[in-house]
Amino acid sequence: MHLNVILAQTMLGLSAGVFYAMLSLGLAIIFGLLNVINFAHGALYMLGAFVALIGYSYIGPWLGYDDFHLGFWWALIVAPVVVGCFGMLIERFMLRRLYQFDHIYGLLLTFGIALILQGLMSRYFNVSGTAYGGQPDSLSGIVNLGFMYFPTYRLFAIVVSIIVCVVTWFVIERTSLGAVLRAGVENPRLVEAFGINVPRLITLTFGFGVGLAALAGVLAAPIYSVSPLMGANLIITVFAVVVIGGMGSIGGAIVTGLALGLVQGLTQALYPPASETVIFFIMVIVLLIRPAGLFGKDTAS
């Protein structure tokens, strides 16, 4: 096989992998501090894409200003903030009541929230998808990478996602703010006994993880069509990524997300029929050999 074909598939794999990375990163951050597997993550990713879509195509006419469009650059900021605040309300008024019970209740609640969000959006929007028209002109067209012509927007999405992942990793692993978060993951009661408002830390952390999902949703909007089920389809793969990487490792979530995107892209080139299942195949192998995941600590008790 020609090297250029492999490089081309690597780029395509990467452009899926960055979405896996951003979503599994948010899931890992949330799981670390809340011990909740956020099943609503896919729905909140979808909501992020819809904030961009509604902001661009619908909100103007709804408010009676037909010419108003919330641009893509604004959506990159507004959607994570709006969805992040929505997430913080969910945490503050629903999830928080469940911490005293088994983790399974948090999972059930978030699963229910995901179903409600998908159902509500399906009521008002086309399930087979709506095109997002807000992609800026500066990002349209293609660039020559030397070995292939690649859509400018996809390259932009890859670069932005990787920057966001690296900055998030750096803040958590290398700064004093991140030290509070790492300590909170390990022993929240003691962190609170030092005078740190841990309940507020948990709310903000959930909001941040959910905001990452919304940001991924906005970045996805110009690539995929915006549909109420876009998150439900993606999240199944993302959960496989999380299982492979192991819960709770920040760097592990990013690396696994990118790597599995690449694996998927290369499988597409080498043996296309397996490209949809290869991640689940890897998941089975990893679970047999390392049940805690590639980067997970074995805490079987």
């Binding site: 004093s176 030290a179 300590a183 005078g195």
Partner: protein, 234 residues
């Protein structure tokens, strides 16, 4: 000396199990008091109850005159200027020595500067970049003490700080407590080791079955030594 901590009729529960049955004690500013007693007498639970780290508590806990029994843990710590050193030391394994030291927020302006702390604990200074789990037991204990000295805490709650440590380290800890006391800090010390506690404390609370069974002033320790040892023996 003003009264810093006053506990009245404190009851505490872990889940369904009722652990404290009406504890009463008082600590004045600048004092060192100990909670002595056998395992399971309720000493650690008394410390945890002050911080709200039990499942349920009733009675009264006053810090510097204001009632805190219904407050959340982080507000109690800030309002009472508390420094807590838990029994398991609570060194965070994913944080290095510097990060562990700088984790607790400053509570007042009277905290020790980091350089002064490293001068007090030279072993830690050499290991600033080591992760918490790479430290020896003695170093972890030093770090757990150093960490709360930095915050400017006024009332230190120290739980079994000598447990499982070599005699030479226990001796160093004793000297550290003396230095802290001279700085005017107030200390509540949960201790198993009476010989460690006796020369340091102004007063001993001997606990039994979730209550204070006896209060012994430092001046009476010699006269009552046989009696105290009988209460503490297993």
């Amino acid at each position: 000396m003003p009264e810093l901590l006053r506990i009245r009729d404190l009851n505490a529960w872990y889940g369904e199990s009722h652990v404290l049955h009406g504890v009463d004690m008082a600590v004045n500013e600048g004092e060192v008091v100990t909670l002595l007693g056998r395992n399971g007498a309720g000493r650690t639970t008394t410390l945890k109850s002050i911080l709200g780290l039990v499942d349920k508590r009733r009675g009264s806990i006053q810090l510097d005159g204001s009632e805190v029994i219904n407050r959340p843990t982080h507000r109690i710590a800030r309002q009472g200027l508390l420094g807590y050193c838990p029994e398991e030391r609570g060194i965070f394994s994913r944080l290095n020595v510097d990060e562990n030291l700088n984790l607790p927020p400053r509570l007042s302006r009277h905290g020790m500067p980091v350089e002064e702390i490293y001068a007090m604990f030279p072993n830690l200074a050499e290991r600033r970049r080591s992760l918490g789990t790479q430290l020896s037991g003695g170093e972890q204990q030093m770090l757990a003490m150093a960490r709360i000295l930095r915050t400017g805490a006024r009332l230190l709650l120290l739980d079994e700080i000598t447990e499982g440590l070599a005699p030479v380290i226990v001796k160093t800890l004793g000297e550290t407590i003396q230095q802290i006391k001279q700085r005017g800090l107030t200390i509540v010390l949960v201790e198993q080791n009476f010989h460690f506690a006796a020369p340091l404390a102004d007063r001993h609370y001997i606990m039994e079955h979730g209550r204070v069974a006896e209060v012994v002033e430092a001046a009476d320790v010699e006269a009552k030594e046989a009696h105290i040892k009988r209460l503490l023996s297993v």
